[in-house]
């Protein structure tokens, strides 16, 4: 409970200070929160259920492409119907995960990793080759963010909306992982065989967790599309999935908050380091390696109360 208060405190301070930072910093903060939602969805799989997914970009992509296609081809989602798109984005992410889950949940460990990777690449392939729908390599440019009473085109407003979505996602996932269902997920992570012998349908538990993670991936996608104003196949590539996984590992798996911390570290390191030096990728790589070697529990394990 303590950790939640600390998190709320920090986010509160950031929300109050945000108007006084530069416009570019606000964009970065919004980006961190969106990636934070995605990282939390990965954490539900990796940290709580023990399923390392390398395909989370697929659901982000489905949500993002849905948003962009609805907005540019049908003019849906630029007013109050933005909320409809949010729901549709989550549903489409969940539906895609429900379909992929049928193949992926059979496997575990490295095999799960490989299957999710392959399924993620399928979505990339579709985005890249289905020119008439996705604009192929050039992607889809969106004409402005939604307006419904408030103008999301204003970056500060958009940041607060994203912050709201982040908090809602955080509490939803927090409730989920602390429910009996969440506890049995942890049980599966620790020893699946024992859970099965105890009479749990472990396949179904994992499948549901996978679908829920897909839904939050889809939500992150809707916000991601509006954040960048463009959706392209490079949103759906493997690196996006790897990044999300690394954010969780960096921040601390099995903590939810860790995803946000990881996202913060990665985004700031990347944006500011890339401006300073051209070999920024080496620094990022070194940070990853050092974390895994010396902080297997992630940055969160530095603070008390981080549970293993």
């Amino acid at each position: 409970m303590n950790r939640i208060l600390v998190l709320l405190g920090i986010l509160g301070v950031v929300a109050v200070l945000a108007p006084f930072t530069g416009p570019f910093v606000i964009l970065l903060l919004a980006q961190i929160l969106v990636l934070g939602i995605m990282a939390m969805s990965v954490d539900l799989l990796l940290g709580y259920t023990g399923l390392p997914s390398l395909g989370q970009a697929a659901y982000l992509g489905v949500g993002a492409y849905l948003t962009a296609i609805l907005a540019t081809k049908f003019g849906i989602g630029l007013g109050w119907d933005f909320w409809l798109v949010v729901v549709l984005g989550m549903l489409s992410g969940a539906a895609t995960a429900a379909f992929f889950g049928l193949f992926a949940i059979r496997a575990s460990g490295v095999y799960f990793l490989m299957i999710t990777l392959a399924l993620g690449m399928c979505v990339w392939g579709l985005a890249y080759r289905w020119n008439s729908l996705t604009g192929g390599d050039n992607g889809i440019n969106m004409r402005g963010r939604p307006v419904f009473g408030i103008r999301l085109a204003d970056d500060l407003t958009f940041f607060y909306v994203v912050l709201g979505f982040f908090l809602a996602s955080f509490f939803a996932l927090h409730l989920l992982v602390n429910s009996p269902f969440g506890k049995s997920l942890v049980g599966i992570r620790e020893r699946e065989l024992r859970m099965r012998i105890l009479g749990y349908n472990t396949w179904l538990h994992k499948y549901i967790a996978f679908v829920v993670a897909g839904a939050f991936g889809g939500l992150a996608g809707v916000l991601w599309a509006h954040l960048n104003g463009i959706v392209s196949p490079s949103d759906v590539i493997l690196t996006t999935s790897v990044d999300a996984l690394l954010m969780v590992v960096l921040g601390g798996p099995g903590t939810l908050v860790g995803g946000l911390i990881g996202a913060t570290a990665v985004v700031f390191l990347r944006e500011y380091l890339a401006t300073l030096v051209q070999w920024w990728q080496y620094v990022l790589g070194a940070v990853y390696v050092l974390t895994i070697l010396y902080l297997p529990g992630g940055i969160m394990s530095l603070f008390k109360g981080g549970k293993a």
């Binding site: 390599d137 960048n228 490079s234």
Partner: protein
């Protein structure tokens, strides 16, 4: 009183900035990832012109800020936002891929910041979508621009039936489309189109399917594909003449190629082998400074810097504001390294297109035999609409995988 003080302070601030006369240029190019070397070529070209002018454009001190766009559209958007909002640049230059051009252009519109795509060649940026981008002026080329004349050249050289094999993405579609349109309008036939995915490393599955009765092959390759394709073609004993899109043989890939590309013909708005004193000097200086022959990526950005300088000369180093700058730039007529350049009404260059043949020879006074893109024919003052006229040209859809349709494919 307070208000008055404020006005004074603001006025002071304004006059200070006017006296300093600074020109901030944000430069976007891939500095990491598979396109990093091309990004280096782009930056070097721009930097070389800046160094020649000692960072001073007609009294304005140039601040040159390079950002790594990684060749990815979402990253380009973020870097463009950073340049425009945090660094308050007057203009953004660059981007490499068509997709990054498409990503940066809306940012320029949204933030009212000038954008100069010096390399991104997506046709529609200065064609059907131009109205969306009032602060953009292009100094490079459109994908189809050099390949319209190449189609004409193929007709004039008695080619009748040609097979096209090209990287399967928007740039490839537009290059093949431009060639096919003109070639078929003057009596030629594209009898087959083969689309290997971007980044194909093995052309083994594609080469045997090339129709035996074609008189030539039109190829459009990018990066490492450009090296691999001619090699495998030679190994499999195909003897047909090769006509290529500009990037299949540009000076970025040429030094890594061998004798298998001798005699291959391609078209572009620049060749390092243009035999003019201006280009000879440019090649020598560039080679001395960076140890390699300049590619069109370098030339395009060198010339872009020169054009910005020309505008600043007209204003005595004062920033004229984005609308005025774009209008002034689009009104320029300059004698660039690539030849004379002016702009059409849709802010795309009208420029010479060079039909080039790869030859092994000594050039520009270097004493070693090297591969050069010898110019075999020049089409002067080619516009992006070729000879069709703007209205008629814009009536047709943008070139794509299915347009123009492959009438003679069976």
């Amino acid at each position: 009183m307070k208000r008055k003080l404020l006005t004074v302070l603001v006025a002071l601030g304004l006059s200070a900035s006017v006296n300093a006369q600074e020109l901030k240029i944000g430069f976007l190019a891939p500095m990491t990832g598979i396109f990093a070397q091309i990004g280096k070529d782009m930056e070097n070209g721009f930097q070389m012109y800046l160094d020649e002018q000692k960072g001073n454009f007609a009294g304005a001190k140039v601040t040159f800020i390079v950002e790594d766009e990684e060749g990815k559209p979402p990253v380009s958007v973020r870097k463009a936002e950073k340049l425009a909002r945090q660094d308050n640049v007057h203009m953004m230059v660059g981007g490499l891929l068509a997709s990054t051009g498409y990503a940066i252009a809306p940012v320029s519109t949204r933030l009212k910041t000038v954008y100069i795509p010096s390399v991104p060649a997506a046709d529609d940026l200065t064609q059907r979508d131009l109205k969306d981008y009032p602060y953009m002026v292009r100094t490079g080329w459109t994908s189809s621009q050099p390949h319209h004349p190449l189609g004409r050249w193929a007709c004039d050289n008695k080619y009748k039936r040609v097979v096209a094999i090209a990287a399967d993405y928007a740039f490839g579609h537009e290059v093949v489309g431009g060639f096919q349109k003109v070639f078929e309008d003057c009596g030629g036939q594209i009898v087959q189109k083969i689309w290997p995915p971007l980044g194909t490393k093995d052309f083994g599955p594609y080469i045997p399917t090339i129709k035996q009765d074609a008189d030539a092959i039109f190829s459009l390759m990018v990066g490492p594909m450009a090296l691999q394709f001619p090699k495998q073609l030679q190994e499999s004993g195909v003897k047909k003449p090769i006509i290529g899109g500009g990037t299949s043989y540009d000076e970025f890939v040429l030094p890594s190629m061998g004798d298998e590309v001798l005699g291959h013909v391609s078209a572009l708005q620049y060749s390092a082998a243009i035999d003019t004193p201006k280009n000879r000097e440019f090649v020598r200086k560039y080679r001395e400074k960076y140890g390699k022959v300049p590619s069109y990526y370098s030339e395009s950005n060198y010339t872009t810097a020169q054009m910005i300088h020309e505008v600043m000369k007209q204003t005595n180093g004062k920033w004229p504001g984005p609308e005025k700058f774009v209008a002034m730039m689009a009104g320029l007529k300059i004698d660039a390294v690539r030849g004379p350049v002016r702009f059409d009404e849709m802010r795309n260059p009208i420029q010479n297109i060079y039909i080039k043949k790869v030859e092994k020879k000594k050039m520009h006074g270097y004493d070693k035999d090297e591969l050069w893109n010898s110019v075999i024919q020049t089409y002067p003052n080619v516009s992006q609409f070729w000879t069709y006229g703007k209205e008629a040209f814009l009536k047709q859809p943008v070139y794509s995988r299915d347009f123009p349709p492959c009438k003679f494919c069976k």
